[in-house]
C-alpha cells in the first residue's frame, strides 16, 4: 500500500513538487529511514534532506518525531520547523 507524501516550504521548493505517492521497501521502518531512502534519490531530494535536524514531520496530520514508525501511515508530511503566528 502506498504512502501519500507531502512537502512544504523549502522542502517542496528543493524537491520541485508538493507531493507524491511512494512505496518504500520493507526495511524502511521509521521517518528517519524514509528520509534517508528519499535522499538517496539524489538531486532535489538530496538537497532537501541533506540535514535531517532541520526537518520536522507529521504522520496522518499529527506531528511526529523522526524516530516514529511509519507502519500503517497513509499520509506523511516533511517540512521545516513551523513559523506561524
Amino acid at each position: 500500500m502506498g504512502i501519500d507524501m507531502l512537502y512544504f516550504a523549502w522542502v517542496r521548493e528543493a524537491i520541485g513538487r508538493d507531493g507524491e505517492t511512494i512505496e518504500p521497501p520493507a526495511g524502511v521502518g521509521d521517518v528517519a529511514a524514509l528520509i534517508a531512502w528519499l535522499a538517496a534519490r539524489g538531486g532535489g531530494y538530496a538537497t532537501a534532506f541533506a540535514d535531517p535536524a532541520r526537518l520536522r514531520c507529521a504522520i496522518d496530520q499529527r506531528f511526529a518525531a523522526l524516530a516514529a514508525p511509519i507502519a500503517g501511515a497513509t499520509e506523511i508530511a516533511l517540512f521545516p520547523p513551523v513559523t506561524g503566528g
Binding site: 496530520q61 508530511a77 503566528g85
Partner: protein
C-alpha cells in the same frame, strides 16, 4: 465554551470578532492581533509575507490548541483566526481573543495561544523582498522558548 477557529485567505473584522466575545456575558475580553511588519532589510525592504499552510492539518492543530486553552483556563469563549496566502506589509495575519469572567484567564489564554501558534501550528512564512529575492523564516530561539515555558508551567501545575 464558545470556540471559533478559522484558517482563511480573507481578512477578518476584529471589531466584529471582539463583539461576539463581549456578548458572552463575561467580564473581560483580551486579544492579540498579528500584523505583517515592515522590514528595514538591505534587500530594499519587505514587499510581502507569504504564508503556506497544510490544508486539513492546520485547522485541526489550531482546534487542538483552542481545546488546550479551554481545558487550562475558565474561558467563556475564544477566537483563533489565522490567514494564509500572500499578505502585504500592514495586513493582519492572525487574531487570538478570549473571553472570561476575569482578566487573568483571558490574558493568559491569549498569550498561550499566540505563543503556541508560532511553534505548534503548521504554517510556514516566507519573506518576499522588493528586489525580487525571498527567504523562508526560521523559528527564533525566543519563540521556541516562549512556547516551552507554557509546557514547563503546565508540568508544574501553574496557570
Amino acid at each position: 465554551m464558545s470556540v471559533r477557529v478559522l484558517v482563511q485567505q480573507a481578512d477578518f473584522d476584529v471589531g466584529g470578532e471582539l463583539a461576539r466575545l463581549e456578548a458572552l456575558g463575561g467580564g473581560g475580553v483580551a486579544s492579540f492581533t498579528g500584523v505583517v511588519r515592515g522590514g528595514d532589510d538591505e534587500r530594499g525592504g519587505l514587499d510581502a509575507l507569504h504564508l503556506e499552510a497544510y490544508p486539513g492539518m492546520t485547522q485541526r492543530a489550531l482546534e487542538d490548541l483552542a481545546g488546550q486553552a479551554g481545558a487550562r483556563w475558565p474561558l467563556l469563549g475564544l477566537t483563533l483566526i489565522h490567514r494564509y496566502g500572500t499578505l502585504s506589509v500592514g495586513e493582519r495575519i492572525v487574531l487570538v481573543a478570549a473571553a472570561a469572567r476575569h482578566r487573568a484567564a483571558a490574558l493568559a489564554a491569549c498569550s498561550f495561544l499566540i505563543d503556541s501558534t508560532k511553534t505548534r501550528a503548521p504554517f510556514w512564512k516566507q519573506e518576499r523582498f522588493a528586489d525580487g529575492s525571498s527567504r523562508w523564516i526560521e523559528p527564533t530561539v525566543v519563540d521556541v522558548a516562549a512556547a516551552s515555558l507554557w509546557d514547563a508551567s503546565a508540568e508544574h501545575g501553574r496557570p
